[in-house]
Structures are given as C-alpha cells and as structure tokens.
Assembly symmetry: C2
Homo-oligomer: 343 residues x 2
C-alpha cells in the first residue's frame, strides 16, 4: 500500500466534494489502486489544521460542516493560520490546491503552489488562475524540483486529454486546437435558441449550480480563456498568458443574432481557439457561428468538446457526454491517483 | 539535433508511405523537433541492407521501387539476409516493425521485436499480431530492458488515445471501452444500408485500398479483435490475448437485418468492446444494432471512434473524422518522434 500525505487549500466548491469522494472511495482506492491518502493539513479562510499523523477525512469534513472552519479541529486546529503557513508546517507529500481562480493576481494559489514545489511536494490543482497568468513558470519549477504537477481539472474538468494533446503538440503534429469549455455560456446560448431571454437563461445556469460566482467569469469568456491558455501551453509547450487572449464574451449577442443563425442552420458557440508554431501564435475566445453539424456545435450545452486539427492524423475530436459539476472532484482525484501510482 | 539510428522490417503498405513521409518531412522534423532519423538497416522478403553509417531514405526508396528489394543496394545490400539477421547486424537505436499481422503465429514480427528489445533498441510497431497474441510479454520485456515501446498504429491508427486510456484505466477510472476500429466493415455496412449487396460493398472497399489483403481479417472481426485486445491491455494493464475474444464478424448479417434496423432508427456497427476489473473480464467483437444517435453509430464509415464509460468522468468519446490509410504512416512517425524527443 502506497501512503501519500496530502494537504488541501480551500474548502469550497472544489474541495468539499473531493473530500466526500475520498471518504466514499477510500476502500476501493486501497483495493484496486493500492493507494491510501493521509490528510496531514487543510486550510480555509478562517484558519488551518496541521496533523502530522493524519486526520480522518470524515472528521475534517464534519468539523468544517458543523463549525464553519477546519481550524476548529480539537488539538490540531490553528485559528488564523494561512494556507501558506499550513503548507510549510504540515510535511505533506502532495498539495491539492482548490482555491477559486482569483483574477487578476492568481493569489494566494500561485504562491501556495510555488512554495509547495520548493518544499518538494507534488501538486494537483483545480485552480486555473496561477497557470493561466504565469505561463510555464509552475511547470518549469515542477521540472526543476523533480516533482509531479497535474492540473486536469483546471485545464477543463471532464476532458482527460492533456496527455493526448501533449503527445500531438510536442511531436509537431498539432496545428490548431479549439474547444467548448464553459457550460454556463453554452447553457445560456441553448436557452436563447429555445426562446429564453439572456437573463432567464443565466438564472437557469445559476440555479443549476455550475455557474461561476461572478457571471462575467463565464459569460465574458474568462473561464474559457484560462482553460485555453492552460491547454495550449501544455500541448505546444507554449508560453501564452491570459493577457495574450483575444477575448470576446457572449453578452453582446442578441436574440436577433441567435435567430438568424438558427434560420441558416447554424449555432453560436463560445469557442476557445489557439494555433502555435511555424510562425503562428494566436489565441482567442469568441462566439463563433458554426454549422449545426460542426463537431463543436453538435453537443448538448453540458458536453465539453475538444477539437484538434493535426498534420497527418486528420481532425481529432474528444468530448465528454454530459460533463457535470460532479465530475470535477473526480478529475482531481484522478490526478491524485495518477501521481500516487507513478511513484 | 538528436540523431536516431533506425531500421525497418517489411517494405509493404505500412513502411513504403512511412519512408515517403521521412523524405518529405525530414527538414521540418529537424527544424521543429530537433530530430533526425538515420536509416542503418532495412529488410524485405528478399533480403536486407545494413549500412552502419546510414543510407538515405531516397536511395532506399529508389532501390526498392526500381529493383523490387532493398537487398539490391550497391555495396551494402545483403541478398537472402532475414529481418532478424538485419536487426542483429545493423546497430540501430530503434526498430520500426512494419510487417503484416500474420495469424496465428505473429511471426516473424514477434521474434524481431523481442530480439530488438534484447539488444536495447526502442521499438515502434504497426504490426498488430505480436501484441494481440502475446498479452503483456512485449510491454514487460520493454520495461525490463529499459527501452521505449510505442504501438499507436497497431492499437488503431487515427486514434492517438493510448495515453488517455492508460491514464483512466490505470487510475481505476475506466469501467468499459468500446469502439469502431475497422473501416472496411463499416464501409460494407454503410453500403448495405444504401442498398448495395455485401459483395458490391466489399469490392468498393477493396478498390478503395483500405481493405486488408484477406477479407476475413476485416469482415470476420480479426482486425477489430486485435485492436481491442491491444487497447484493453494498455488501458487496464490487462492480460487478454486474441483467444479470449468472443468474436463474430459481419458476414452473417442479411439485407433483411440491415433494413429492419434502418426502419427502427438503428444501425448495425462492428464493435470491439471490453470490460475489466472488479470481477469483470470480458472482451468481444460483434455486430451491434445501435440507435442512430449513439456515439458509436453517429460516424461516417471512415471515422474511427472510441467510447469510454468512466467512474466519475461520464462517457468519454474520442473520434477521428475521416481516418484514412494515409494517416497510418503519420501515426507511426508520431511514435518515432515521441520516442526520439523523450530521450
């Protein structure tokens, strides 16, 4: 049995369901993967817990749910301790970073990940901002430190395609990528196609629980832009940052635009797109009006879709049918298990 | 510039277009990937060539085209030399095995690959039989010898998904896989749907140049069975062999069957399918009658399609639009470059 000491930062939408998964899947992971995760630290906005010999996932979940902060854990709780201090104190083998994507700084996620790597920890992150803002800084630091760094959830939960894309991009096979990465925008566009107003459709997405807290993150294309940067940098070993993205959201689209497209057998989609190499270096997020039978236009609002134009392997399309918020912690767990298994 | 000394076995449908690609892409590979391949050996059915300092791809191609065998190369030609002897004599860093999939023995491909690995060579193979017949024997030997072994073309040219599948399967995420891997069978079934007889449709496939030499390899499901075994073994680190496959081809389907399916909004497809783990161990190739909007039924005959049922990541679908015979050498080259780059 491989035991991995892990610590968690953030205890919100990314981390809470992940802890639930660690509780429900612990026996299976031990039996089928030979892996056991021991929680030695966690931090939320009110403080932290540092438990060198481990705290059970159940106990951690319970104290957070009942008291509002992990820092109220008996004996090991540290009210007021920051996530960075927790990382430095807990002696984990792996940091699982689950803070929200704070723009424009990416903090404290960026500093947390950097410090964890400096301390020799492997890192799994669901936080898009540190990667999207800082290009190759973190992947290069991981390489230098000899630690593993996986970020499938940040790149686009539901599409475990990073390895495939990197194989193609780094072998000079990948000419262009494009994708549908933001469910809220697609939900709104599908709602408008069926006659809803923009506002009605947005409220539906918020009620569904998959919209980001600030609607602009979805509808102005920031979420798609971050995912496109992270993927393009991974596939081509490129150095894009969020500032490079030519970004237009969906808020400028009118009912008239939508209707006209429908009449022409087309659909508006919010597409992240990038090309790199041989003199090309472009990255954009824009509403694109695509024929209904285009691979990127064929999905439901809840599908994530990735399209590659390749040199000799034709058009490659990967999609996840009905990607859901519940798939996100599964993607993070997948990265944790992948690291644990490869050690 | 990384120089890799390579040798080739077989000079048929797999190798000839690959050599063409090595000629046309040499400058790009040097400029964009920093990789240069030096051919130090090649063998066909009449003999071999062994050139420790390298023979140009153009010269090799020319002597084969003009004289019928590489063994007629001036000075370095070796009439009567076998592929195994060539491998032992040439001092290559990498074997590119392009012999046809000989059933039931898998020879001489299996012995060639084994010997190359024993000699410390990395191996790229387009030959399905050695992998499909011998389970994990070759992957384990590669591991033991510390050499790289890539077989994307054998697993299913056009779907560079082996890394993605292995990530899912080895992290206990992959519950079931299914796929459309044989263009000839799909072409025949699509032809029959449009009113052609079985024989007419088969002749069309043969005229198109993508049918295997022996129609049974396609229509009796052997090609799909080999690809399904190779993929399942890679994804789950499983130990299937061709003998495990519950195999039924498409030759038993009647015009009546096809018509009835069409009336019900369904399509017959030749599907390779496998499940593994948690008490399950099944692998089959069968015509399946699927609803027209099923991910495996939605493609054109020329699309390769791979479907994964996962534990937390929903249904994952990967497809190649219009996979063609010309994509096959590109897939082999991709594996060669991937190995060269990672050294």
């Amino acid at each position: 049995m491989k035991q991995m000491k892990v610590c968690f930062t953030g205890f919100g939408n990314a981390t809470r369901p992940l802890i639930e998964l660690l509780i429900s899947e612990a026996d299976r992971l031990a039996a089928n993967c030979g892996v056991s995760f021991v929680i030695v630290g966690a931090a939320d906005s009110k403080g932290a817990v540092v438990a060198p010999d481990g705290i059970s996932a159940k106990a951690l979940y319970q104290v957070r749910t009942e008291t509002g902060s992990v820092c109220n854990t008996p004996v090991f709780g540290k009210p007021g301790m920051t996530s960075l201090e927790m990382i430095e104190a807990c002696g984990a083998d792996m940091l699982v970073e689950g803070l929200p994507a704070n723009l424009p700084t990416g903090e404290p996620g960026f500093s947390n990940i950097r410090r964890a790597m400096e301390l020799g920890m492997h890192v799994v992150t669901a936080n898009k901002a540190p990667l999207a803002l800082h290009g190759q800084v973190l992947p290069e630091l991981a390489k230098k430190q000899g630690v593993m760094f996986r970020y499938g959830t940040a790149a686009s939960a539901g599409l475990p395609s990073l390895e495939m894309g990197a194989l193609l991009g780094r072998s000079d096979e990948l000419l262009e990528m494009a994708g549908i990465f933001n469910a809220t925008s697609q939900y709104i566009l599908e709602g408008m196609r069926s006659g809803m107003s923009y506002e009605e459709a947005l409220r539906g997405a918020q009620a569904g629980g998959f919209a980001e807290a600030n609607p602009a993150a979805d509808t102005e294309g920031w979420d798609t832009a971050m995912k496109t940067v992270i993927q393009a940098n991974t596939y081509w070993n490129a150095d894009f940052t969020l500032a490079d993205v030519d970004r237009t959201g969906i808020t400028g689209l009118t009912q008239e635009d939508i209707k006209k497209a429908t009449e022409e057998g087309k659909s508006w989609c919010l597409v992240g797109r990038a090309a790199y190499g041989e003199g090309k270096r472009s990255i954009s997020v824009k509403p694109e009006c695509l024929p209904n039978d285009h691979p990127l236009a064929k999905g439901q609002w809840c599908d994530k879709i990735l399209w590659f134009k390749t040199r000799t392997q034709g058009e490659q399309v990967h999609y996840c049918l009905g990607a859901s918020a519940s798939g996100t912690p599964g993607n993070t767990l997948l990265d944790m298990v992948a690291i644990a298994r490869s050690l």
